[in-house]
């Protein structure tokens, strides 16, 4: 069912008191869980839940020619789909605008943060480089698939290892893996999504809140020597944000990043044991 008007009104009334329909505070995230082991045939996988929103992510690796303007750097392609299993509103068919936008924002966050050391993905300059293929599937949608997707992608990258590469044949031996992890840096990018409902801001919206929101902003942020870097931003919806609201969002982004960074590191370590 789509959002009833009375629920939107309730969401607004509660926010005036600094409360949310599910009992959270405006800048409180839902519980996050990170698991792996979705597919042994992938170089890396993750299964991430934020509240009831769940995504499965797989990283596959292949070897290809580099782009002419980056001859000594690896490449990356990110795809995202809402599976029709995810909820009533998601029907089959090719990825729609929602999916494309999520894939692009996740991609930019990872790319611009410097989380992947692209030069270390070069096999032979100008001829052969590693290509990282990230596939994200939302299988249960209760809002904020954006942040779940980004987190899932990061987790799958952290858990991935190279496949075996046959240097003589210059081919990947699919299904055979090395122990070598991907060349990742400390600059872990996270995305944080805020919604504006009425004149109130919230983080990590659930489905009803997402449907109530008039404007949305996603910020991909990473950390370099305790300093936060914004790597990607995407505003959604028609309603504008004020400059003051953006300042508040940046402030809350910094806080949320620190809060979940440690938790994520711990959870990923726990998964890898």
């Amino acid at each position: 069912m789509k959002l009833p008007n009375i629920n939107k009104k309730r969401i607004l009334t509660l926010l005036r008191d600094g409360k949310r329909l599910d009992g959270r505070k405006p800048f409180e995230l839902r519980d996050i869980s990170i698991e792996t082991g979705v597919s042994i045939n992938a170089e890396g996988t993750s299964r991430v839940k934020i509240g009831k929103t769940e995504v499965v992510v797989g990283v596959k690796m292949d070897v290809q020619e580099p782009y002419p303007d980056h001859e000594n750097e690896g490449t990356m392609i990110t795809s995202m789909e809402f599976s029709p299993a995810a909820g009533e509103r998601w029907e089959g068919g090719p990825p729609g605008m929602d999916s494309i936008e999520i894939a692009r924002v996740v991609d930019r966050g990872i790319r611009e943060s410097g989380f992947i050391d692209w030069k270390k993905l070069c096999i032979k300059e100008g001829e052969k480089v590693w290509s990282v293929l990230i596939d994200i599937y939302c299988i249960n949608d209760d809002g904020n698939a954006m942040d779940a997707s980004a987190l899932g992608a990061i987790a799958a990258l952290k858990l991935a290892r190279f496949p075996v590469y046959d240097e003589k044949e210059e081919k990947v031996k699919f299904g055979e893996f090395t122990d070598k992890p991907l060349p990742l840096t400390e600059k872990l990018p996270l995305t944080l999504t805020f919604h504006k409902i009425g004149d109130k801001l919230i983080i990590d919206p659930n489905r009803d809140e997402e449907d109530s929101g008039e404007a949305r902003i996603t910020i991909a942020v990473s950390s370099v020597k305790k300093e936060k870097m914004i790597n990607a931003m995407q505003k959604g919806g028609i309603t504008p944000f004020t400059i003051e609201e953006m300042e508040k969002i940046i402030e809350e982004t910094e806080k949320a990043y620190d809060k979940i960074f440690a938790e994520i590191e711990k959870k990923i370590k726990h998964v890898t044991k």
Binding site: S39, G87, D142
Partner: protein, 236 residues
């Protein structure tokens, strides 16, 4: 080399370790996971619900719309996302395998959506998918005469075996490999889905059918236990 032992040391009439569970997708009206060893499928059911556009509606019955989706990272060499000829064919045969036990006359003009997702693949993906989908349909409270269970029967060299893995499908020596996925109803053991790929002597086909019947009986027990609340994981 003659085929005397299975690569994973199973008996010829032994299934891989099974995983079975219902309720894995909270938003769905019914959902389930079913795995034969390394082949893992989940299924979600939505409906019966209104069907749009109207010209797709059947005046005297509802329809089942099944979609089989093998995720790109479920296989060793990344599969291109989205539907292809193979996935469309499997979606159709799986939908028919399930529809034969479902009472579609109760809600004319409606649709029951069945989404099958293959998370990890090592052969028999359609069978794992159909098993999960049958559980998800039951879990969604759909009126069904009986359950269906699905298994791949193989003739590898001259042996009839249950629940094939990739390595067996690729067996070339001797008489080679024949893959025969079956789906059977739980009470009457009628065949609601049957495909075959390979070469098998006509006089040996009966053996394959008998093996399928035995395997489906075993699989039904897992589906039943999961629907009755057990979370089964023999892979641990």
């Amino acid at each position: 080399m003659p085929y005397t032992k299975r690569p994973d040391k199973r008996k010829f009439d032994e299934l891989r370790p099974i995983k079975a569970e219902v309720g894995v997708i909270p938003n769905a009206d019914g959902s389930a996971l079913f795995a034969f060893g390394e082949t893992v499928a989940i299924a979600a059911v939505y409906g019966p619900k209104p069907l749009h556009p109207q010209h797709m509606q059947e005046p005297d019955r509802g329809i089942i719309r099944c979609n089989y989706n093998m995720l790109p990272f479920s296989v060793t060499e990344r599969a291109r996302p989205g539907p292809n000829r193979r996935s469309k064919e499997i979606s159709m045969v799986a939908g028919n395998a399930l529809a034969s036990v479902v009472d579609l006359t109760r809600f004319p003009g409606t649709v029951i959506d069945v989404e099958i997702i293959i998370l990890q693949a090592n052969a028999s993906t359609r069978c794992a998918g159909i098993n999960a989908a049958a559980m998800a349909l039951a879990h969604a409270g759909i009126v069904m005469k009986e359950m269906v269970s699905s298994v791949s029967i193989g003739k590898i060299d001259d042996k009839i075996v249950m629940d094939l893995i990739k390595e067996e499908e690729d067996h070339e020596e001797g008489e080679g490999a024949t893959d025969i996925p079956f789906t059977m109803t739980s009470r009457t053991h009628q065949i609601t889905h049957l495909q075959l790929d390979g070469r098998i002597q006509t006089h040996r086909f009966k053996e394959a059918t008998e093996a399928a019947k035995e395997a489906c009986k075993k699989i039904l027990k897992y589906q039943e236990r999961a629907l009755k609340g057990e979370k089964i994981d023999e892979t641990k």
